[in-house]
Symmetry: C4
Subunit: 243 residues, 4 copies
């Protein structure tokens, strides 16, 4: 179980930073979202109202229950796809934070069924394979591709299984982690790993990380996770001051 | 028929913003243009004078009739290719806004005859295929590639047909929509979709969106179109303040 | 013969702007250079002292004769490769400006012998083929790849022939034009065309511009060359003010 | 032996600049490091404490001995992988500076066993081949991929041999040089060369630089190494002032 050093206010501050970081690093644009489990009420989670991540402030953070229903809406509109978050938190007690994005480098893997896996130590958390969620299996051939109810959210959570990352065919991806820092790291470095794997596949057969190498690398990177987080945070703060 | 909440001044403001957004998002450079149908005179449309989109101001917006002739030139020079806009507005009463650009990711599809189609829900509006306009069919083997008269404009509009998007071989593309927001969205996400499709084609056969999925996704995205628009607009405003 | 509206001071100002633009647009980095023929002494040309283009000021501009010798060195060090410029001005009386760069998209064409040619109207000036200069033919198998004397410069000018652009194998490229604006346009859009051609070659056989289309497009773009120039200039000015 | 014009303070200033430059040029992100041999104590080297390179200041620079042990820790935490540096300085008396990074373009070469070599004069220092370090050969199939002790550092130094650059399979790369300026140049232009080689390999067989061309080009570039350095330095200074 992760250490929870943050007060609730600090957790919300980190969630706001995560929104800005994910946009600054090219993981989200006008779309995509990041949530965190409420550290004092594990059956709740925090997620911004329906808006572009780059412009989220503390006042935009709402609280939801595990059915995906807002507890404190106060007139604020929720993301249609909040069920991604609620059903993952329900299925995965180990998960403390979730990112959903359309980051571009991973999408070609999902729509061609190519196995996304660790090619470099920074992507060690990906291990030997990444599940791909096919919405047609759960929702039939004529969905609008969105996870707009509990049923689809639960099907996505089943595809994710015990993995840290899953592709959504024709849509995007989800990353999960034991903290906001870790899930932001994973969302960013899954994208980096996908770019490296894509380029390498053009050169020839890849010498992938072994399961042991991937696990070892994941643990080593988790031990220094403050380093990239502090850099990303300082970049969005500077940008904020300049604007 | 689209709701028209904007006064004429607000429409012009949005058109100016669209010019700046399209440059900031890499869809236009020194070339390319965006127009909107005059909401009070449907047989007219608004388009900047011949200049780089990034530097367009309210004072640069001219009004044209459906022959592509300026109504209020006042010494201002019109784009050579204004007939792209006039003939599409003539042929397509449903169209309220048009973007013409040379955005780079879609051009390789046009010059190789590769079918650009929806690979992800953000590009749902592209559906199952995108028409390609071949200027040689209308103008012969020795044009300068530009849509510099009504005849070529009408041929382009025929190629477009009822589609939201068309490629122009060896030149660029056009996007049409029922509002400035929608056409800007389409110009940007056609480019995103093309990059994804290009990368995926290198990995193997693509699991494309079905017609139903594409249509559903298009409607779902249209319902939240203010979200990316507000983000794009805030970005060009910040940039403007900083300079 | 090109119209010469600029006074000598304005010509130098444009040359300084061209240096900054080429860096801002990714054509040059710490290396590369741009020159202009002296409009009052056609047997002379203007070129910055040996330095990074981004930091060139009016005080850094030197005058050279057609042997590549500085006329007003005043202790300033000249580029080793100034003979690129001097020999092209000698061989091509029609040329008023020259850019040498290592811009990345065109280099793969030179080192694989792939024919760089117009795939879109913006690259119309490239026509049906681009010559490739092989320094081994003129300098043997053990040069340092640089055009460091008149002999190599003359060989390069012969490879260029009457073309607007040439590749230098394992090194970079040269663009020539009838004005600073035109040569900057060509340096930038050769790069754009190379990126488009590279991507398209992966999709399948390309429907290239015909000779007539390329020529027509070149003339059409030359007629509006102030438009991209003004945009590029405004961008480097804004950047200058912000720093 | 390289000329040492810098006082110790100037050397530290250059090391801090190198940290910032490598981040600004996309060679390092939150990870990666650069060191320099202590010019007055060749059995020591200078390296920042464990932190993101972009935020390194003079106060963060520590001194290490050739066993990788800090001499002046003062509570500061050292990089886990400092043994990359210590063992290279031990094995290579000619080396005055070392960069370790995960820069993305070279990694696909390492994981596919593709030979990275000079395709353009700017990458001349790469010569005809680049060694690839396989950590499994030294550390077995279950390392965490990091060079976290002297044994692994020594194995890496043996793989490097007399080369200026080496790939680390599934991890990144190292560049070495006779000065901070040279090693930064090499870290940046190895990346540029890798991008060019990758693109060219898709077009067809490459006409590589000969050994003589590569050597000549390396010497020619070393002679003007202040030029890119001054540009990179001015860019990070401007950025610093703006923030």
């Amino acid at each position: 179980m992760p250490v929870r050093r943050n007060s609730h206010a600090a957790l919300i501050d980190d969630l706001v930073s995560a929104n800005h970081i994910l946009c600054a690093e090219g993981i989200v644009d006008g779309f995509g979202h990041v949530s965190v489990r409420d550290e004092t009420h594990p059956e709740r989670f925090l997620l911004a109202r329906s808006m572009a991540p780059a412009t989220v402030t503390v006042r935009d953070v709402m609280t939801f229950d595990l059915d995906g229903e807002p507890i404190d809406a106060k007139g604020r509109k929720a993301y249609v796809e909040r069920f991604i978050h609620s059903e993952i938190y329900r299925a995965r007690p180990d998960v403390q934070a979730v990112v959903h994005s359309h980051s571009p480098a991973v999408i070609p893997f999902g729509i061609t069924g190519t196995n996304l896996r660790a090619v470099s130590h920074m992507g060690g958390f990906l291990g030997l394979s990444t599940p791909i969620f096919e919405i047609r299996a759960a929702g039939g051939p004529a969905t609008d591709m969105l996870i707009r109810n509990r049923t689809l959210g639960a099907a996505l959570a089943r595809s994710l299984g015990a993995s840290p990352y899953a592709l959504m065919r024709g849509h995007g991806s989800i990353a999960v982690g034991d903290s906001i820092k870790q899930v932001v790291y994973r969302a960013i470095y899954a994208e980096v790993n996908a770019r490296l794997q894509m380029e390498a596949l053009r050169l020839g057969p890849i010498n992938y990380l072994t399961a042991e190498e991937a696990l070892g690398a994941m643990r080593a990177n988790d031990a220094v996770i403050d380093r990239p987080w502090d850099l990303w945070k300082s970049k969005v703060r500077k940008r904020g001051r300049r604007n």
